[in-house]
Amino acid sequence: MGGFLLRKLGAALVVLVISSMLVFLGVRALPGDPATALGAENRDPAVMAAVRSKYGLDDPLPIQYLHWAGLAVRGDLGTDQRELSVAETIVDRIPITLELAGLSILIGALIGLPAGIIAAYRRGKPEDYAATTGALVGLSVPHFWLGLMMISLFAVHLDWLPAGGYVPFSEDPAANLQHMLMPAIVLGTGLSAVLMRQMRSSMLGSLSADYVRTARAKGLPERTVVLKHALRNSLITVTTVLGLQLGALISGAVITEQIFVIPGFGRLTIDAINQRDYTLLQGVVLVAAAGYVVVNLTVDVMYSVLNPRIRVSSKPA
C-alpha cells in the first residue's frame, strides 16, 4: 500500500506545480500592464519603474515564477489592491465556505444516500421511480434559480429566514444556522441527486453479486444482507464520488455566496475578477487548486484504507 500512496502523492505534487505555473502564466496573460494592475494607478514613469523593480517585473519569466512560488510556499501571497495581505484574507474566508460546504454535504448525504439504497432495493417499484425522478429533477434545477426562488418565498414573502448575510458561529450559533440554511439546501439538492444515483447504481451491482446470494442462503435477515453485506461494498465507491464532488460544490458555492451575500471564498473569487485584482486572483486560484489536489489525495488515501484488496496485499497460498 505504501507504494501506491507514494505514487499518488507524487502525481499530486506534479499537478500542483503545473497548476501553479498555469495560474502564474494565466494572470500574466490578462490584458493590461501588470504594473498598472499591481498598484501603480498613475502613469508616472518613475512610479512605474519603482513598481516594476519592486515586483521584479523586468526579470525573465521563470525567475519571476520561482520568486513568487518561493514566497507562496512560505505562505506569503502578497498584498492585494487594498494593501491587505492576500493570505490573511483567504484564511479568513475559507472557514465560512467550508462551513457551507459541510452543511451542504450533510444535507446531501442525509437525503441522497438512503434514497439511493431504497431505490436500488426496490428497483422497478414506485419507490424507485419516485426517487430516480426526484434525482433527475434535482440535477436539472439550476441551483442559483432555486436560491432566488427560495429567497423570494422564505425571506421576502414569508419572512421566515434572512435573505442573506452571515453571522459567525462563535457569535450566535442560531443566527449562523439560519443564514446558512437556505444556501446549504440549495447546494445540497444537487449533491443529493448525484449521491443518490451513484449509491443506487453501486447498490444494484452489490445486490446482484454472488456474495449477497450466499448471505441469503446463510439464512441472514434481509436487513443484514442489505445493510451489512451489500452496503459495505458500495460505500467505497460512494465515498470516492463524494470527495470528487467537492470541486463541483465549490463551483456552486461561488454563485450561491454571491446570491446570498455570504462573505466566503467563492465570493472572494468573483470580487477579485471583477476588480481586476490580479494578486488576489493569483492567490485565490492557487489555493483553490491546491485544495482540490489535497482533497483528491485524501480521497485516494481513504479508498485504499477502505478497500481491503489494496490495504492487505494478496499472498497466494
Binding site: Y211, R213, T214, A217, K218, G219, N233, P308, R309
Partner: protein, 312 residues
C-alpha cells in the same frame, strides 16, 4: 419454474420432482442451462423476483415454498446449506473469512463472538485448510480458489445441516484441486452423515461418490436411477450419449474418437409439445416429435422419460 424476460416467458424447469433420503448422496446431472442449479435454488426461494415458482417442497413437515419467510430463513444455512459454484465471487470481499463463517454460527446457534470464532477455526480445520488460526483472519482475495471453496464448505457445515447442496463445487477449480474437494465431501458424508445433493455435469464425479443419479435435460427429468444401475444400463438416449462422451482409455469407438451428441439444447421459450430431446435423438420418430414422454419405471428404482428406452 419460469422466468419472465424481455423476449417472453422462459420455462426453465417443468414438472420436476424428486425425494432425498437421509444420508444419501444424490447427483443431479445435466449440461449447463438445463435447470439443475435453478431448481435447487428455488427450493429455498433464492431466485430473483423475475422467477415464478410453483409446486411443493416438503422438508421436515413444512412446505418451504409456501412457508412464511421467517421459517425459510431459519432453514437456510441451518438445516439446508448451499455451496455455490464460484468461490471467487461467492464470498464477500470486504469481510474476513472467519467473520463470515462466524456470522452463521451467531445467527443460528446464538454463539458469542469469541465462541463463534473458535468454532470457525475448528471448521477450517475440518475442511483441511492448513494453518487455520492464521487463515481465519484473512480476506478472501488472499486465499487460493481451492481454499475459498473449502471455506464455503466450512461455512455450509457450520450448523451441522441435514442437507448440503453443492452446486458444481469443483467446476471452477482445476483438476488437481478437484480431487481434494471430492475427498473432502466423501469424508463429510462418512463422518457427519449429511445428505448431499451434488449438482454437476461431470459423470466422473458422479461415479465417484453418488448413491443415486437424476439426469435432467432442458428443464425436465429424463432419467433417475441408483448409480450402479445407471452406469451399467443407461436407458434414456441422452444418458447413453453422455456416457459415450466420457473420455475413457480404450473405451471410445473403434475410430478412437469421442462420441458427441449432435445438435444443441433447444430454446426454452414457449410451451413444449414434444420430447425435448427429439431433435438430437437417434431414436426419434413421429411419436416423440408430437408428444411429451411421461416418466415410467423401467426396473426397480429406475425411471425414464422416453418412448424408446433401452441401451443402445
Amino acid at each position: 419454474m419460469r422466468f419472465e424476460t424481455d423476449d417472453g416467458t422462459v420455462q426453465a424447469v417443468d414438472a420436476l420432482s424428486f425425494t432425498l433420503d437421509e444420508h444419501e448422496v444424490l447427483a443431479v446431472v445435466g449440461e449447463s442451462g438445463c435447470g439443475k442449479s435453478v431448481s435447487l435454488m428455488s427450493l429455498l426461494r433464492l431466485l430473483p423476483p423475475s422467477a415464478h415458482v410453483s409446486g411443493r417442497a416438503q422438508f421436515d413437515g413444512h412446505d418451504l415454498l409456501t412457508a412464511p419467510a421467517s421459517r425459510v430463513r431459519r432453514v437456510r444455512g441451518r438445516e439446508i446449506a448451499f455451496v455455490f459454484q464460484e468461490p471467487m465471487t461467492s464470498l464477500n470481499p470486504s469481510f474476513r473469512v472467519g467473520r463470515q463463517i462466524a456470522e452463521v454460527l451467531r445467527r443460528h446457534l446464538g454463539l458469542t463472538r469469541r465462541a463463534a470464532e473458535r468454532r470457525a477455526v475448528e471448521l477450517l480445520e475440518l475442511v483441511r485448510i492448513p494453518a487455520p488460526d492464521r487463515r481465519v483472519n484473512e480476506y478472501p482475495h488472499q486465499l487460493s480458489g481451492g481454499m475459498r471453496q473449502r471455506v464455503m464448505i466450512a461455512m455450509a457445515l457450520a450448523c451441522d445441516p441435514k442437507v448440503l447442496v453443492a452446486d458444481e463445487p469443483t467446476t471452477a477449480l482445476d483438476v488437481t484441486i478437484q480431487a481434494g474437494i471430492l475427498d473432502l465431501m466423501r469424508d463429510i458424508r462418512e463422518r457427519l452423515g449429511t445428505s448431499i445433493v451434488l449438482i454437476t455435469h461431470n459423470l466422473g464425479v458422479v461415479a465417484d461418490i453418488a448413491d443415486r443419479v437424476l439426469v435432467m435435460y432442458a428443464g425436465r427429468k429424463v432419467e433417475e436411477a441408483p448409480v450402479k444401475d445407471l452406469f451399467r444400463g443407461p436407458q434414456h438416449p441422452y444418458t447413453v450419449g453422455l456416457m459415450g462422451a466420457i473420455p475413457r482409455p480404450g473405451g471410445a469407438d473403434h475410430q478412437g474418437r469421442l462420441r458427441e451428441i449432435p445438435g444443441r439444447v433447444p430454446s426454452l421459450v414457449g410451451p413444449w409439445e414434444a420430447c425435448a430431446f427429439a431433435e438430437r435423438c437417434p431414436r426419434a420418430d413421429e411419436k416423440t416429435r408430437s408428444e411429451v414422454p411421461p416418466l415410467r419405471e423401467v426396473e426397480r428404482g429406475h425411471t425414464v422419460a422416453c418412448f424408446h428406452p433401452g441401451p443402445e
